[in-house]
Every structure is written in structure tokens, then in C-alpha cells.
Symmetry: C2
Subunit: 195 residues, 2 copies
């Protein structure tokens, strides 16, 4: 909700095909949070905290992560499109470096998960050995994705020179909400075993 208030009320709205470059850009934070980070968290919790048959849990876990990849690609595309419209250089900032790194590793992790846990090639022993790496790798990726979101909001706020305006406060609370989302998912997954 905070993200939408920011983008729709303070920042001219969302439109991937607009002639207004700012509206193209705004698709980026929206899809990277709502499409990528939020979906990723939901997929993790769907597997660990919602009771269902193992096969159903696995399929939902895989499918929501797939949606996250698709929406993530559209969201990344919006950032490149904005840079191209404005003639800005790509991929120099810390935000872009960790963002691209996280997204690439996420796709590898998805392929690794698919071949190891969904397809029938792996033995149960191989799966048992791979499981902790898959689980903790996923936690690390959520952690990296949250860091990326926070550096992105920090970059935008510093670039716009925001200080004590209400927009600055809104962005800070939005970032805190994203951080708390990441922490809650992480804790629900790691403390799940003690519940």
C-alpha cells in the first residue's frame, strides 16, 4: 500500500508504455517488490507454513517462484527502458550490481530446485543432502533481494535530494516495511521447525 501511495500519489503513476519516462520507471519498484520480493516470500511461506500434501506444496512453491521470475523480468526491463529513454548509463550503481547478481542466482536456484526436487533424476539421499543448501540458499536470496530494494530506495531518495518532506518519510517507512517483510518471512521459515 505504501509503495502504491508513493508511486500513484507522489510519482505520476505506472505505465510501461508511456511517453513519460518517469511512469515507465515506476513499473520497476512496483514489480520488483510486488512481483519479485513479495511473491518470493509467499512461495517460501507456502511451502513451510501452509499444511497440504507434499506434492501440492512443492508445485505451488515452484509455481509462485516462476511467477516471481516472469514479473521480475518485466520489472528489470522497465529500469533499462527508463535509462534508454533518458540516455542514462546502465549498471554502474551498487543497487544494479546486487540486483542483477540476486536475480541471476535466483534463476539458477530455481533451475537447481526444479531438477533436484521436482524431476525424478535425484535419489532421496541426494535430495536430503541438497535440502539444507536449497533452504538456506533461498533465505540468502530473500536477504539479498531485500538489501537490493533498500539500496534502490536509498539511491532514489538521495538522487531526488529528499530530506524532511512527507515523501521522504513515506519512502523510509516503505523501506522499513519491506525490511520487516523479509525478516518475518525469514523467521517464519527458520522458527517453523521449533513450532
Amino acid at each position: 500500500m505504501l509503495l502504491l501511495v508513493w508511486l500513484l500519489h507522489y510519482r505520476e503513476g505506472l505505465d510501461l508504455d508511456s511517453y513519460n519516462a518517469n511512469r515507465v520507471f515506476n513499473v520497476h519498484p512496483f514489480l520488483m517488490f510486488f512481483g519479485f520480493i513479495f511473491m518470493m516470500g509467499e512461495a517460501m511461506m507456502a511451502y513451510k507454513t501452509v499444511g497440504a500434501e507434499r506434492k501440492v506444496q512443492k508445485s505451488i512453491h515452484m509455481f509462485i517462484h516462476f511467477v516471481a521470475i516472469v514479473l521480475g523480468i518485466v520489472g528489470l526491463n522497465a529500469a533499462f527502458k527508463f535509462h534508454e529513454r533518458r540516455g542514462l548509463t546502465n549498471l554502474y550503481s551498487l543497487h544494479s550490481w546486487i540486483g542483477i547478481g540476486t536475480f541471476s542466482l535466483f534463476c539458477l536456484q530455481w533451475l537447481f530446485g526444479l531438477s533436484m526436487f521436482m524431476l525424478s533424476g535425484a535419489t532421496n539421499e541426494m535430495r536430503a543432502r541438497a535440502a539444507p543448501w536449497h533452504v538456506n540458499g533461498g533465505r540468502v536470496l530473500l536477504y539479498m533481494a531485500t538489501c537490493t530494494a533498500l539500496t534502490g530506495l536509498m539511491e532514489k531518495a538521495t538522487y531526488m535530494g529528499l530530506h524532511h518532506q512527507s515523501e521522504a518519510r513515506l519512502i523510509n517507512f516503505l523501506a522499513l516495511a519491506i525490511l520487516l517483510f523479509g525478516i518475518s518471512v525469514d523467521l517464519s521459515v527458520s522458527l517453523g521447525r521449533y513450532a
Copy 2:
């Protein structure tokens, strides 16, 4: 090493009592990483991955965290001193909000750990129930501290308008190194149980 190359070679060096406000500021990133985040990670690994008597492990874990608090306070002080010298406003940015939040929660976690696990008031059952929250709370705090470092470097790089200079690349690699340190500590602590 990357942090020192940045501060000593590109950024005029470190001195908490200097008339040069930039040298006062530089104490902040140095102590917040080397004094706070690095010490915090070492303290976590000292408890989980170094073999010793339980009592020795606990004392070292507590003591290194105490050093982290002391150096963290000096490091925070350097940032406020720099703002005062330059007449800049305090505590408006996302970096400052998560930073102060993390440091305050860290001090609470330290006091909670001291009273629960070091002093003799708590029963074994209370300790067993509190342990997963202490462990996962610590992981979350390391995660928040890393996010804070990354937003700080992002803020500084954006504020200085760095793009493709070698300093920009150095800061990005420094941030990646800090992120990898956080991830490694987190994994060594969470995968420790499977080793």
C-alpha cells in the same frame, strides 16, 4: 582492506579529532564495519564454529559483542560530529533510520542475552525456549546491519555523483564484500547444525 583503501587512498584518511570534517566522517564507515559488523560476525562464529568449553564460548561471544557495542557508539558519534561540523540535519535518511533501529535492538538483544544466558536467574527450560529466538534474532540483526552498511555506501556514492570512476567500482566491490561476509556468517551459523 577495500574499506581502508577507500578511506585512506581516495578519502583523506581517518581522524576523529581532525579539523577536516571529512576525516571525522571517515571514522564512521570504518568503525561501523570493522568495529560493529565484523566483530558481530566474529562473535557469532566464535560461539557456533570454534570448539571450546561452553562457558568459555559464551564469555567470548558476550565479550566480542560488548566490544562491538563500544566501537559502534564511537562510530555513530563520528557521524553526528560530522553533521554538526557541516550544519547538516540528523536522522532523516533511510540509512540513519535502519542504522539507529539496528543498533538499539542490538543493545537490547545483548542485555536479553546477558540476563537470560549468563546470569543465573533463568531455568534451563526458560533458556531452551529462549535460545531459538536469541539465535534467529542475532541473525536478523546481522542482516539488518548489513542492509544498513549497503544503504550507507549507496547514499554516499549517489551523493558524490559517482558513476564509472575507479572509486565507484571500489565502493561497489566493498559493498559486495560486506554482503558476502554477512551471508557467510549467516550460512556458517545456520548450516553448522548439519555439519
